[in-house]
Symmetry: C2
């Protein structure tokens, strides 16, 4: 009999898993259950959708009909999985019971909304689904001022998108910097200043205490001050969605996310569960930088995990998911900010003493028109001299440079080794003869 | 007494060496001799200078006066070093004798002009110095049609620049593809078609037999056909300039360039010469991909070698120059082409059996406007599965991606290891959620 594979969740991880399962097995019976109405889109696209830069129909790459017709994958939308029986190997949804041979849990994360009064008022949103994006876009038509709770990359991208629509925008952040945790304060402050120059207001070190209004939000209170607004969006981070895994008794790690084997099998009481796979925002990863756990929660990671989990669930030639450095990039106004590995804050979480090097220059030869500013910061472990992190702010071409540094990190290069063995391709319109990345590592070597 | 350092050559290698020597030693007495009239510029800039996209004054970054005043480095221009006495440790130039404690030879390469009749006619040029560029630019004013001999990257960049100036341009190439040796034919053909669509004509498999004219060039004969033109440029590759090294008896390698230690000391009869350093286009490098020799002859390599040679010549804390993968990139019309490590042709030179993987996609998320086509080809050694080379054609952002792949190559990653452990930063405006580079390596794994 054909292998029955059930995938719960239709985001980057779930749909990648379903497609990889089909690639590995032409006759498997593959069913995806999702509470969402749209599938196979990137939540990272939503700010651009709200601004109207990308159309919703393009953002949603494929429909359930496409999966049915092109890949023989059945996608059941708007349907909550009520329970999973790990012993009987069945999933119950909509009152019906479906047996599985392999289960992929890819229910992702949900936006963490702080438990404050008024969070359920009208015109208060989170931003996770295309439906959220469409609702925000519609509601913005009648609104002049917006408060965004949370200055992470999604919060900042939203702030720019909504500011571009001519609205008054205030970002309220609990920490003392934007992009907390993954960006260092000096890099974050440069981004904040850039956004302030575009008229976006920031309220820092201000936990949100209440959302106020009569039926509909009219202001937000943070650190004792009141900020009037007609619409409020919580972009306050994502927590692993553990309802189903917890009901199944799967092992949860130190970071409150699922522990997984390199094959992406889940564990139960320390034992690998051979027929249950996990992928996406609810998985706790191993760090490629330091021995220990880390959260990745990136679309790129979700896709990579989905491909491994789906392939293995379908009995394909076994694939492994490796430790992660979790490179990220965000386009915020006219600047790109990117990072990889450990920020100074994350490094201190691992107890590492760090040294940093930095350099500034241009993205092109000095004499070639159109070059943009480029600032690179590189972080090493003082004990081993290994490069453990990097951050870049640039007017263009930050992504490839951060991927390059990611490769150096996952390969365990020391700063000195990088300086001796790293090369950059050079052409006046695309780089300086000695790229700023290399100059930053040279500076790092001087600090070690 | 302060250490006396003499540098011969004022290109990327020579001037980097002089500056690094000054950084390593505040009191060294540093003198640079050069036959050139301009110093410290990148020959790669010349096509852009001819087109007028970059000004000659900007291309020449620093003057001798700058070096004298800012770095206390004496630069003697328009002066040929007549001889070097390795035993007495002196250099003779302009009839005067200068003693040295350390010598850096950075005389680079010279354009190879095939020994054909008429190569010395008026309006026949090579392109190596800013003077060449200015002369070509001036001569082009009175000319309608141009022949370029050689379809390497400089030849093609020149072809585009001169075509943009409204001239009729014919490129004549001996081999059956453009960018021979470092690009594979399938990639090269795509670039050639792109240039043909811009009206540039190509004559392939046609060795140049004669340059014809009465005082001034009026046509070029290649493979028995005559091609009329008012100006001709040889862009037929660079050969190591070995006059001084040969007079000194320095060891020359298999590829007819200087053998150097990782410290960039030269050798004489198999023994390291402690007071003579070499850097730039005349150095034979070690390959980072396979055991064996390779030529790099890139501006980026010259700078990296200059920094090591100059530092060590000045007695700084010892630095080493590592083996090279030699990433390169060229902007040719609306396309960027980049490569690293071994092409299929170079792989066969090392006797390697290869497998290739490839993928196509976009430089941005499919739904994000402005994305450009991106094609990635990755080459592995069938025996070890190590990634040994890669090539990219893209509308934008090829450089960072090729630097990323270079890092994978110099770290000895296999295709399978790359697939398990490589990550890309993702944001809709700068990449697909799973970058085309990773998709290409996945295809490569299937071929292995």
């Amino acid at each position: 009999m054909a292998r029955r594979i059930i995938v719960i969740g239709s985001g980057a991880a779930g749909m990648s898993a379903a497609s990889a399962a089909r690639k590995a097995s032409s006759d498997a019976q593959i069913t995806v259950f999702t509470e969402d109405e749209d599938i196979a889109y990137s939540p990272c696209a939503i700010p651009w959708g709200i601004e109207g830069r990308s159309g919703w129909d393009e953002i949603v790459m494929h429909t359930p009909e496409f999966y049915e017709k092109e890949r023989n994958i059945k996608v059941v939308t708007r349907t909550r999985v009520e329970s999973v029986d790990g012993d009987a190997k069945t999933v119950t949804a909509d009152g019906q019971t479906y047996p599985y041979d392999a289960l992929v849990i890819a229910t992702g994360g949900r936006v963490f909304v702080p438990p404050v009064p008024g969070a359920d008022l009208a015109n208060v949103f989170v931003v996770r689904t295309v439906r959220d994006g469409k609702d925000i876009q519609a509601a913005l038509k009648d609104v002049d001022s917006v408060v965004i709770g949370g200055a992470g990359v999604i919060g900042l991208e939203l702030a720019v998108a909504i500011r571009e629509m001519g609205k008054d925008v205030t970002v309220i952040e609990m920490m003392d910097q934007v992009i907390p945790r993954i960006a260092d304060k000096d890099m974050a402050d440069e981004i904040q200043e850039h956004l302030e120059s575009k008229g976006i207001k920031f309220v820092m070190k201000a936990p949100i205490q209440a959302v106020n209004g009569d039926g509909e939000v009219s202001s937000v209170t943070a650190a004792g001050q009141e900020y009037p607004c007609g619409l409020m969006i919580f972009a306050t981070g994502v927590r692993a969605n553990l309802d189903i895994p917890k009901a199944l008794g799967l092992d949860v790690g130190q970071l409150n996310a699922l522990i997984a084997a390199p094959t992406l099998n889940a564990y139960r009481r320390g034992r690998l569960v051979p027929d249950v796979y996990v992928a996406g925002d609810l998985v706790q990863c191993e760090s490629a930088v330091m021995p220990g756990a880390t959260m990745s929660q990136l679309g790129s990671t979700a896709v990579r995990q989905g491909l491994v989990a789906g392939n293995n669930a379908a009995g394909g030639e076994k694939k492994l998911f490796g430790p992660v450095a979790s490179p990220w990039v965000s386009v915020i106004g006219d600047k790109q900010i990117a990072g990889t590995g450990l920020s100074l804050g994350l490094a201190s979480w691992y107890g590492i003493d760090t040294a940093t090097g930095s350099a500034s220059g241009l993205t092109r030869a000095r004499y070639y028109p159109g070059g943009k500013e480029l600032r690179v910061k590189v972080i090493a472990d003082r004990t081993t001299h290994r490069i453990v992190g990097a951050q870049i702010i640039a007017g263009e071409e930050a992504t490839g440079r951060i991927d390059w540094l990611t490769s150096a990190i996952v390969n365990g290069m020391t700063a000195e080794d990088f300086l001796m063995r790293s090369e950059n391709a050079y052409c006046p319109p695309t780089s300086m003869v000695r790229d700023v990345v290399i100059a930053a590592v040279e500076d790092l070597c001087r600090q070690l």
